[in-house]
Protein backbone atom coordinates (compact mmCIF):
# COMPACT_ATOMS: atom_id res chain seq x y z
CA UNK A 1 0.00 0.00 0.00
CA UNK A 2 2.83 2.34 0.82
CA UNK A 3 4.39 1.81 -2.59
CA UNK A 4 1.84 4.08 -4.26
CA UNK A 5 2.61 6.74 -1.68
CA UNK A 6 6.33 6.42 -2.29
CA UNK A 7 5.83 6.93 -6.02
CA UNK A 8 3.73 10.03 -5.45
CA UNK A 9 6.22 11.46 -2.96
CA UNK A 10 9.05 10.85 -5.41
CA UNK A 11 7.09 12.38 -8.30
CA UNK A 12 6.20 15.53 -6.34
CA UNK A 13 9.82 15.92 -5.17
CA UNK A 14 11.41 15.46 -8.59
CA UNK A 15 8.95 17.63 -10.50
CA UNK A 16 9.12 20.42 -7.94
CA UNK A 17 12.94 20.22 -8.09
CA UNK A 18 12.74 20.61 -11.87
CA UNK A 19 10.24 23.47 -11.64
CA UNK A 20 12.51 25.12 -9.08
CA UNK A 21 15.47 24.63 -11.40
CA UNK A 22 13.73 26.13 -14.41
CA UNK A 23 12.92 29.30 -12.45
CA UNK A 24 15.79 29.38 -9.95
CA UNK A 25 18.67 29.05 -12.40
CA UNK A 26 17.63 31.96 -14.67
CA UNK A 27 16.71 33.98 -11.56
CA UNK A 28 20.23 33.53 -10.17
CA UNK A 29 21.79 34.81 -13.41
CA UNK A 30 19.35 37.71 -13.55
CA UNK A 31 20.15 38.62 -10.00
CA UNK A 32 23.89 38.46 -10.64
CA UNK A 33 24.13 40.14 -14.02
CA UNK A 34 20.99 42.23 -14.58
CA UNK A 35 20.92 45.05 -12.09
CA UNK A 36 17.60 46.45 -13.31
CA UNK A 37 15.70 43.23 -12.55
CA UNK A 38 17.53 42.31 -9.36
CA UNK A 39 14.75 43.78 -7.24
CA UNK A 40 12.10 41.46 -8.71
CA UNK A 41 14.14 38.37 -7.93
CA UNK A 42 14.77 39.55 -4.40
CA UNK A 43 11.07 40.11 -3.75
CA UNK A 44 10.25 36.67 -5.14
CA UNK A 45 12.91 35.05 -2.94
CA UNK A 46 11.77 36.87 0.19
CA UNK A 47 8.12 35.90 -0.34
CA UNK A 48 8.63 32.21 -1.04
CA UNK A 49 11.33 31.68 1.55
CA UNK A 50 9.33 33.54 4.16
CA UNK A 51 5.94 31.82 4.00
CA UNK A 52 5.55 28.26 5.36
CA UNK A 53 4.82 25.65 2.68
CA UNK A 54 1.78 24.56 4.62
CA UNK A 55 0.23 28.03 4.39
CA UNK A 56 0.98 28.24 0.67
CA UNK A 57 -0.51 24.82 -0.03
CA UNK A 58 -3.70 25.57 1.85
CA UNK A 59 -3.93 29.01 0.28
CA UNK A 60 -3.55 27.73 -3.28
CA UNK A 61 -5.73 24.63 -2.85
CA UNK A 62 -8.61 26.00 -0.78
CA UNK A 63 -8.33 29.73 -1.44
CA UNK A 64 -7.14 30.32 -4.96
CA UNK A 65 -8.52 26.95 -6.05
CA UNK A 66 -11.97 28.26 -5.24
CA UNK A 67 -11.70 30.86 -7.98
CA UNK A 68 -9.30 29.04 -10.30
CA UNK A 69 -10.34 25.41 -9.92
CA UNK A 70 -8.22 24.39 -12.86
CA UNK A 71 -5.46 23.52 -12.13
CA UNK A 72 -5.36 24.33 -8.42
CA UNK A 73 -8.09 21.87 -7.40
CA UNK A 74 -5.73 19.14 -8.51
CA UNK A 75 -3.97 18.53 -5.20
CA UNK A 76 -0.87 16.87 -6.66
CA UNK A 77 -0.42 19.77 -9.05
CA UNK A 78 -0.81 22.36 -6.29
CA UNK A 79 1.61 20.57 -3.99
CA UNK A 80 4.21 20.35 -6.78
CA UNK A 81 3.58 23.93 -7.83
CA UNK A 82 3.97 25.37 -4.33
CA UNK A 83 7.05 23.31 -3.50
CA UNK A 84 8.49 24.18 -6.92
CA UNK A 85 8.15 27.91 -6.30
CA UNK A 86 9.62 27.60 -2.82
CA UNK A 87 12.45 25.56 -4.30
CA UNK A 88 12.97 28.19 -7.02
CA UNK A 89 13.58 30.77 -4.31
CA UNK A 90 16.08 28.45 -2.62
CA UNK A 91 17.76 27.38 -5.84
CA UNK A 92 18.13 30.97 -6.93
CA UNK A 93 20.32 31.45 -3.86
CA UNK A 94 22.14 28.16 -4.34
CA UNK A 95 23.01 29.02 -7.94
CA UNK A 96 23.97 32.56 -7.05
CA UNK A 97 26.54 31.14 -4.67
CA UNK A 98 27.67 28.75 -7.40
CA UNK A 99 28.08 31.61 -9.89
CA UNK A 100 30.18 33.43 -7.34
CA UNK A 101 32.20 30.24 -6.89
CA UNK A 102 32.93 29.99 -10.60
CA UNK A 103 34.28 33.52 -10.42
CA UNK A 104 33.91 36.58 -12.55
CA UNK A 105 37.14 35.73 -14.37
CA UNK A 106 35.45 33.04 -16.45
CA UNK A 107 32.87 35.60 -17.52
CA UNK A 108 35.53 38.16 -18.49
CA UNK A 109 37.44 35.52 -20.44
CA UNK A 110 34.24 34.56 -22.26
CA UNK A 111 33.50 38.17 -23.13
CA UNK A 112 37.06 38.57 -24.40
CA UNK A 113 36.58 35.95 -27.10
CA UNK A 114 33.53 37.76 -28.46
CA UNK A 115 30.61 36.26 -26.56
CA UNK A 116 27.66 38.38 -25.46
CA UNK A 117 26.67 38.20 -21.81
CA UNK A 118 23.92 35.68 -22.58
CA UNK A 119 26.14 33.45 -24.70
CA UNK A 120 28.87 33.57 -22.06
CA UNK A 121 26.30 32.30 -19.58
CA UNK A 122 25.17 29.51 -21.93
CA UNK A 123 28.57 28.30 -23.10
CA UNK A 124 30.82 28.99 -20.13
CA UNK A 125 28.87 29.56 -16.91
CA UNK A 126 26.05 26.99 -17.11
CA UNK A 127 28.34 24.03 -17.89
CA UNK A 128 30.22 24.79 -14.66
CA UNK A 129 27.43 26.00 -12.43
CA UNK A 130 26.00 22.56 -11.57
CA UNK A 131 29.36 21.36 -10.34
CA UNK A 132 29.56 24.24 -7.91
CA UNK A 133 25.90 23.86 -6.90
CA UNK A 134 25.88 20.12 -6.10
CA UNK A 135 26.13 20.23 -2.31
CA UNK A 136 23.28 22.75 -2.20
CA UNK A 137 21.19 20.91 -4.77
CA UNK A 138 21.56 17.66 -2.85
CA UNK A 139 20.17 19.14 0.34
CA UNK A 140 17.48 20.99 -1.60
CA UNK A 141 16.30 17.68 -3.03
CA UNK A 142 16.25 16.12 0.44
CA UNK A 143 14.29 19.11 1.71
CA UNK A 144 11.70 18.67 -1.04
CA UNK A 145 11.22 14.98 -0.28
CA UNK A 146 10.61 15.82 3.35
CA UNK A 147 8.41 18.84 2.67
CA UNK A 148 6.28 16.89 0.21
CA UNK A 149 4.83 15.24 3.33
CA UNK A 150 2.83 18.44 3.92
CA UNK A 151 0.80 17.54 0.84
CA UNK A 152 -1.29 15.13 2.90
CA UNK A 153 -3.21 18.13 4.33
CA UNK A 154 -4.74 18.83 0.92
CA UNK A 155 -5.48 15.15 0.43
CA UNK A 156 -2.61 14.00 -1.75
CA UNK A 157 -2.16 10.29 -1.25
CA UNK A 158 1.60 10.39 -0.73
CA UNK A 159 3.78 8.55 1.74
CA UNK A 160 2.66 10.51 4.82
CA UNK A 161 -1.00 10.17 3.89
CA UNK A 162 -0.63 6.41 3.45
CA UNK A 163 1.19 6.13 6.76
CA UNK A 164 -1.65 7.83 8.58
CA UNK A 165 -4.19 5.60 6.85
CA UNK A 166 -2.33 2.47 7.91
CA UNK A 167 -2.03 3.73 11.48
CA UNK A 168 -5.76 4.31 11.57
CA UNK A 169 -6.51 0.89 10.15
CA UNK A 170 -4.07 -1.06 12.36
CA UNK A 171 -4.21 1.13 15.46
CA UNK A 172 -0.43 0.69 15.63
CA UNK A 173 1.11 4.12 16.19
CA UNK A 174 4.74 3.00 16.03
CA UNK A 175 5.46 0.62 13.18
CA UNK A 176 3.88 2.64 10.34
CA UNK A 177 5.82 5.76 11.33
CA UNK A 178 9.08 3.83 11.66
CA UNK A 179 8.57 2.27 8.24
CA UNK A 180 7.77 5.60 6.67
CA UNK A 181 10.80 7.22 8.37
CA UNK A 182 12.95 4.49 6.86
CA UNK A 183 11.36 5.01 3.43
CA UNK A 184 12.02 8.77 3.57
CA UNK A 185 15.69 8.11 4.27
CA UNK A 186 15.77 5.64 1.42
CA UNK A 187 14.32 8.28 -0.91
CA UNK A 188 16.73 11.06 0.07
CA UNK A 189 20.03 9.49 0.96
CA UNK A 190 21.15 7.64 -2.20
CA UNK A 191 20.33 10.52 -4.57
CA UNK A 192 21.84 13.18 -2.32
CA UNK A 193 24.96 11.05 -1.84
CA UNK A 194 25.26 10.35 -5.56
CA UNK A 195 24.94 14.08 -6.34
CA UNK A 196 27.61 14.91 -3.79
CA UNK A 197 29.93 12.30 -5.19
CA UNK A 198 29.37 13.45 -8.76
CA UNK A 199 30.06 17.04 -7.71
CA UNK A 200 33.32 16.16 -5.98
CA UNK A 201 34.56 14.17 -8.94
CA UNK A 202 33.71 16.94 -11.39
CA UNK A 203 35.31 19.53 -9.13
CA UNK A 204 38.54 17.58 -9.17
CA UNK A 205 38.44 17.51 -12.95
CA UNK A 206 37.93 21.28 -13.10
CA UNK A 207 40.76 21.75 -10.64
CA UNK A 208 38.76 23.69 -8.07
Amino acid sequence: MMLGGVTTTLAISIFSLLLGLSIGLPAAFVRTYEKSLRFLVEVFEKIFRGIPELVLMLLFYWGIGLYVPFPFKNAIFTATFVLGLRSAANQSQIFRGAIRGIGDEQMVAARSIGFSKLRSIVHVMIPQVFVFATPGLGSEYALLVKDSSYAFVIGVSELMFDTIMIRKATLDAVTPYLVSAFLYILLTLPIAAWLDNWGSRRKKKLGV
Binding site: E105, V108, I113, G114, G207
Partner: protein
Amino acid sequence: MVGIVMKCEHLWKTYEPHLIAVKDVSLKIGEGEIKLIFGPSGSGKSTFLRCLAMLTMPDKGDVFLRDECLTKPGVNLNKERARIGFVFQHIWLFRHLTALGNVELALRRVLKQPKEEARENALKALREVKMEEWAHHYPAQMSGGQQQRVGIARALARNPDIILLDEPTSALDPELTGEVIDTLRDLAGKGTTMLIISHEMPFAREIADEMIFYDGGTIVETGPPEQFFTNPQSERAKKFMTRLIMKTRRE
Protein backbone atom coordinates in the same frame (compact mmCIF):
# COMPACT_ATOMS: atom_id res chain seq x y z
CA MET B 1 53.66 53.76 -44.33
CA VAL B 2 52.24 50.97 -42.20
CA GLY B 3 48.52 50.87 -41.48
CA ILE B 4 47.34 51.59 -37.97
CA VAL B 5 45.78 48.49 -36.39
CA MET B 6 44.71 49.99 -33.11
CA LYS B 7 44.78 53.42 -31.59
CA CYS B 8 43.28 55.31 -28.72
CA GLU B 9 42.84 59.01 -28.25
CA HIS B 10 42.59 60.86 -24.95
CA LEU B 11 41.41 57.79 -23.06
CA TRP B 12 40.25 58.18 -19.45
CA LYS B 13 39.15 55.70 -16.82
CA THR B 14 38.50 56.72 -13.24
CA TYR B 15 37.53 54.45 -10.39
CA GLU B 16 35.54 56.01 -7.62
CA PRO B 17 36.32 58.25 -5.97
CA HIS B 18 39.72 59.56 -7.03
CA LEU B 19 41.71 56.68 -8.45
CA ILE B 20 42.60 57.57 -12.01
CA ALA B 21 43.79 54.40 -13.77
CA VAL B 22 43.93 55.86 -17.27
CA LYS B 23 44.59 59.57 -17.63
CA ASP B 24 44.33 61.09 -21.08
CA VAL B 25 46.27 58.31 -22.82
CA SER B 26 46.80 58.25 -26.58
CA LEU B 27 48.60 55.47 -28.41
CA LYS B 28 48.95 54.03 -31.91
CA ILE B 29 50.01 50.53 -32.91
CA GLY B 30 50.88 49.85 -36.53
CA GLU B 31 50.63 46.64 -38.52
CA GLY B 32 53.14 44.07 -37.31
CA GLU B 33 54.40 46.28 -34.52
CA ILE B 34 55.22 45.02 -31.06
CA LYS B 35 54.89 47.51 -28.25
CA LEU B 36 55.70 46.71 -24.68
CA ILE B 37 54.21 48.48 -21.70
CA PHE B 38 55.96 48.38 -18.34
CA GLY B 39 55.67 50.27 -15.10
CA PRO B 40 54.99 49.87 -11.38
CA SER B 41 52.11 47.70 -10.24
CA GLY B 42 48.93 49.57 -9.49
CA SER B 43 49.76 52.19 -12.10
CA GLY B 44 46.74 51.26 -14.25
CA LYS B 45 48.43 49.27 -17.03
CA SER B 46 45.97 46.39 -16.86
CA THR B 47 42.99 48.73 -16.80
CA PHE B 48 44.38 50.52 -19.82
CA LEU B 49 44.76 47.26 -21.72
CA ARG B 50 41.24 46.20 -20.79
CA CYS B 51 39.88 49.54 -21.95
CA LEU B 52 41.49 48.94 -25.34
CA ALA B 53 39.67 45.61 -25.60
CA MET B 54 36.52 47.24 -24.25
CA LEU B 55 36.41 44.69 -21.46
CA THR B 56 36.35 47.70 -19.17
CA MET B 57 34.43 50.66 -20.49
CA PRO B 58 36.51 53.83 -20.67
CA ASP B 59 34.87 56.98 -19.27
CA LYS B 60 36.08 59.29 -22.00
CA GLY B 61 38.09 59.18 -25.19
CA ASP B 62 38.03 56.91 -28.23
CA VAL B 63 39.39 53.51 -29.15
CA PHE B 64 39.78 52.54 -32.80
CA LEU B 65 40.31 49.09 -34.22
CA ARG B 66 41.49 49.83 -37.76
CA ASP B 67 38.81 52.28 -38.99
CA GLU B 68 36.13 51.19 -36.57
CA CYS B 69 35.50 53.42 -33.55
CA LEU B 70 34.70 51.06 -30.66
CA THR B 71 33.65 53.78 -28.26
CA LYS B 72 30.83 55.23 -30.30
CA PRO B 73 27.33 54.12 -29.34
CA GLY B 74 25.67 51.33 -31.28
CA VAL B 75 28.85 49.39 -32.10
CA ASN B 76 28.49 45.61 -31.80
CA LEU B 77 31.25 45.17 -29.25
CA ASN B 78 30.98 41.38 -29.20
CA LYS B 79 31.85 41.29 -32.88
CA GLU B 80 34.73 43.72 -32.40
CA ARG B 81 36.10 41.86 -29.37
CA ALA B 82 36.33 38.75 -31.51
CA ARG B 83 38.90 40.62 -33.61
CA ILE B 84 41.07 41.30 -30.57
CA GLY B 85 43.02 38.51 -28.91
CA PHE B 86 43.39 38.91 -25.16
CA VAL B 87 45.74 36.96 -22.93
CA PHE B 88 45.23 37.29 -19.18
CA GLN B 89 47.77 37.43 -16.42
CA HIS B 90 46.10 34.67 -14.44
CA ILE B 91 45.33 32.70 -17.59
CA TRP B 92 41.61 32.04 -17.07
CA LEU B 93 41.11 29.11 -19.40
CA PHE B 94 37.60 27.67 -19.45
CA ARG B 95 37.96 24.99 -16.80
CA HIS B 96 35.27 22.69 -18.18
CA LEU B 97 36.84 22.43 -21.63
CA THR B 98 39.96 20.69 -22.90
CA ALA B 99 42.77 22.68 -24.50
CA LEU B 100 41.17 22.00 -27.86
CA GLY B 101 37.74 22.97 -26.55
CA ASN B 102 39.10 26.24 -25.22
CA VAL B 103 40.60 27.20 -28.55
CA GLU B 104 37.72 25.85 -30.61
CA LEU B 105 34.89 27.55 -28.72
CA ALA B 106 35.16 30.99 -30.31
CA LEU B 107 35.82 29.52 -33.75
CA ARG B 108 32.65 27.47 -33.59
CA ARG B 109 30.33 29.75 -31.68
CA VAL B 110 31.54 33.24 -32.53
CA LEU B 111 33.04 32.92 -35.99
CA LYS B 112 30.56 30.16 -36.87
CA GLN B 113 33.14 28.00 -38.59
CA PRO B 114 31.94 24.50 -39.52
CA LYS B 115 33.01 21.78 -37.09
CA GLU B 116 35.83 20.33 -39.21
CA GLU B 117 37.28 23.70 -40.10
CA ALA B 118 37.15 24.94 -36.50
CA ARG B 119 38.91 21.79 -35.32
CA GLU B 120 41.61 22.14 -37.92
CA ASN B 121 42.20 25.81 -37.09
CA ALA B 122 42.23 25.12 -33.36
CA LEU B 123 44.79 22.34 -33.80
CA LYS B 124 46.88 24.64 -35.97
CA ALA B 125 46.89 27.28 -33.24
CA LEU B 126 47.82 24.67 -30.63
CA ARG B 127 50.62 23.51 -32.92
CA GLU B 128 51.93 27.06 -33.09
CA VAL B 129 52.30 27.17 -29.32
CA LYS B 130 53.59 23.56 -29.28
CA MET B 131 50.62 22.27 -27.34
CA GLU B 132 49.05 20.00 -29.94
CA GLU B 133 49.83 16.88 -27.94
CA TRP B 134 47.89 18.29 -25.01
CA ALA B 135 44.77 19.02 -27.05
CA HIS B 136 42.61 16.60 -25.11
CA HIS B 137 43.77 17.54 -21.63
CA TYR B 138 41.88 19.75 -19.23
CA PRO B 139 43.46 22.91 -17.82
CA ALA B 140 43.72 21.30 -14.37
CA GLN B 141 45.99 18.63 -15.87
CA MET B 142 48.51 21.13 -17.26
CA SER B 143 51.29 23.24 -15.79
CA GLY B 144 50.88 27.02 -15.61
CA GLY B 145 53.15 27.54 -18.59
CA GLN B 146 51.23 25.04 -20.67
CA GLN B 147 47.95 26.66 -19.67
CA GLN B 148 49.23 30.06 -20.67
CA ARG B 149 50.35 28.72 -24.05
CA VAL B 150 46.82 27.42 -24.57
CA GLY B 151 45.62 30.88 -23.52
CA ILE B 152 47.79 32.35 -26.27
CA ALA B 153 46.48 29.78 -28.77
CA ARG B 154 42.94 30.72 -27.79
CA ALA B 155 43.69 34.36 -28.58
CA LEU B 156 45.60 33.50 -31.72
CA ALA B 157 43.26 31.02 -33.35
CA ARG B 158 40.70 33.45 -34.66
CA ASN B 159 43.38 35.44 -36.50
CA PRO B 160 42.80 38.62 -34.53
CA ASP B 161 43.96 41.99 -35.81
CA ILE B 162 45.99 42.42 -32.64
CA ILE B 163 46.83 40.45 -29.52
CA LEU B 164 46.85 42.21 -26.16
CA LEU B 165 48.78 40.41 -23.43
CA ASP B 166 48.45 41.40 -19.79
CA GLU B 167 51.62 40.24 -18.01
CA PRO B 168 51.41 36.77 -19.54
CA THR B 169 54.34 35.43 -17.53
CA SER B 170 54.12 37.16 -14.17
CA ALA B 171 52.13 34.35 -12.56
CA LEU B 172 54.68 31.72 -13.67
CA ASP B 173 57.99 30.57 -12.27
CA PRO B 174 61.17 31.32 -14.28
CA GLU B 175 61.28 27.98 -16.07
CA LEU B 176 57.68 28.17 -17.22
CA THR B 177 58.18 31.84 -18.11
CA GLY B 178 60.84 30.69 -20.57
CA GLU B 179 58.48 28.47 -22.54
CA VAL B 180 55.86 31.22 -22.81
CA ILE B 181 58.50 33.74 -23.89
CA ASP B 182 59.64 31.29 -26.59
CA THR B 183 56.08 31.14 -27.86
CA LEU B 184 55.82 34.93 -27.97
CA ARG B 185 59.17 35.12 -29.75
CA ASP B 186 57.78 32.76 -32.43
CA LEU B 187 54.72 34.98 -32.84
CA ALA B 188 56.90 38.06 -33.11
CA GLY B 189 58.88 36.32 -35.84
CA LYS B 190 55.69 35.83 -37.80
CA GLY B 191 54.84 39.52 -37.70
CA THR B 192 51.95 39.34 -35.20
CA THR B 193 50.82 42.75 -33.98
CA MET B 194 51.07 42.76 -30.21
CA LEU B 195 50.75 45.05 -27.25
CA ILE B 196 52.31 43.37 -24.26
CA ILE B 197 52.51 44.35 -20.62
CA SER B 198 55.67 42.69 -19.36
CA HIS B 199 58.68 43.16 -17.16
CA GLU B 200 60.79 40.53 -18.89
CA MET B 201 63.55 42.93 -19.85
CA PRO B 202 65.86 40.75 -21.99
CA PHE B 203 62.81 39.68 -23.97
CA ALA B 204 61.69 43.30 -24.34
CA ARG B 205 65.05 44.36 -25.65
CA GLU B 206 65.00 41.54 -28.17
CA ILE B 207 61.55 41.89 -29.69
CA ALA B 208 59.93 45.23 -28.85
CA ASP B 209 59.78 47.92 -31.51
CA GLU B 210 58.91 50.41 -28.84
CA MET B 211 58.75 50.42 -25.08
CA ILE B 212 56.24 52.44 -23.11
CA PHE B 213 56.82 53.42 -19.50
CA TYR B 214 53.44 53.75 -17.80
CA ASP B 215 53.06 55.27 -14.36
CA GLY B 216 50.32 57.06 -12.44
CA GLY B 217 47.71 56.27 -15.09
CA THR B 218 49.61 57.76 -17.97
CA ILE B 219 52.40 57.24 -20.48
CA VAL B 220 55.49 58.84 -19.02
CA GLU B 221 57.99 57.97 -21.71
CA THR B 222 58.14 56.04 -24.96
CA GLY B 223 61.11 55.07 -27.06
CA PRO B 224 63.08 52.20 -28.56
CA PRO B 225 64.31 49.63 -26.02
CA GLU B 226 67.88 50.88 -26.30
CA GLN B 227 66.83 54.28 -25.00
CA PHE B 228 65.47 52.72 -21.82
CA PHE B 229 68.44 50.46 -21.31
CA THR B 230 71.07 53.13 -21.88
CA ASN B 231 69.56 56.51 -21.33
CA PRO B 232 65.98 56.87 -20.06
CA GLN B 233 64.84 60.47 -20.34
CA SER B 234 62.55 60.75 -17.33
CA GLU B 235 63.68 60.46 -13.74
CA ARG B 236 60.93 57.96 -12.88
CA ALA B 237 61.78 55.68 -15.77
CA LYS B 238 65.45 55.85 -14.88
CA LYS B 239 64.77 54.73 -11.31
CA PHE B 240 62.40 51.98 -12.36
CA MET B 241 64.77 50.63 -15.03
CA THR B 242 67.66 50.52 -12.57
CA ARG B 243 65.62 48.42 -10.20
CA LEU B 244 64.33 46.16 -12.97
CA ILE B 245 67.78 45.54 -14.40
CA MET B 246 69.15 44.75 -10.94
CA LYS B 247 66.32 42.31 -10.35
CA THR B 248 66.84 40.64 -13.73
CA ARG B 249 70.57 40.26 -13.01
CA ARG B 250 69.85 38.68 -9.66
CA GLU B 251 67.59 36.14 -11.35
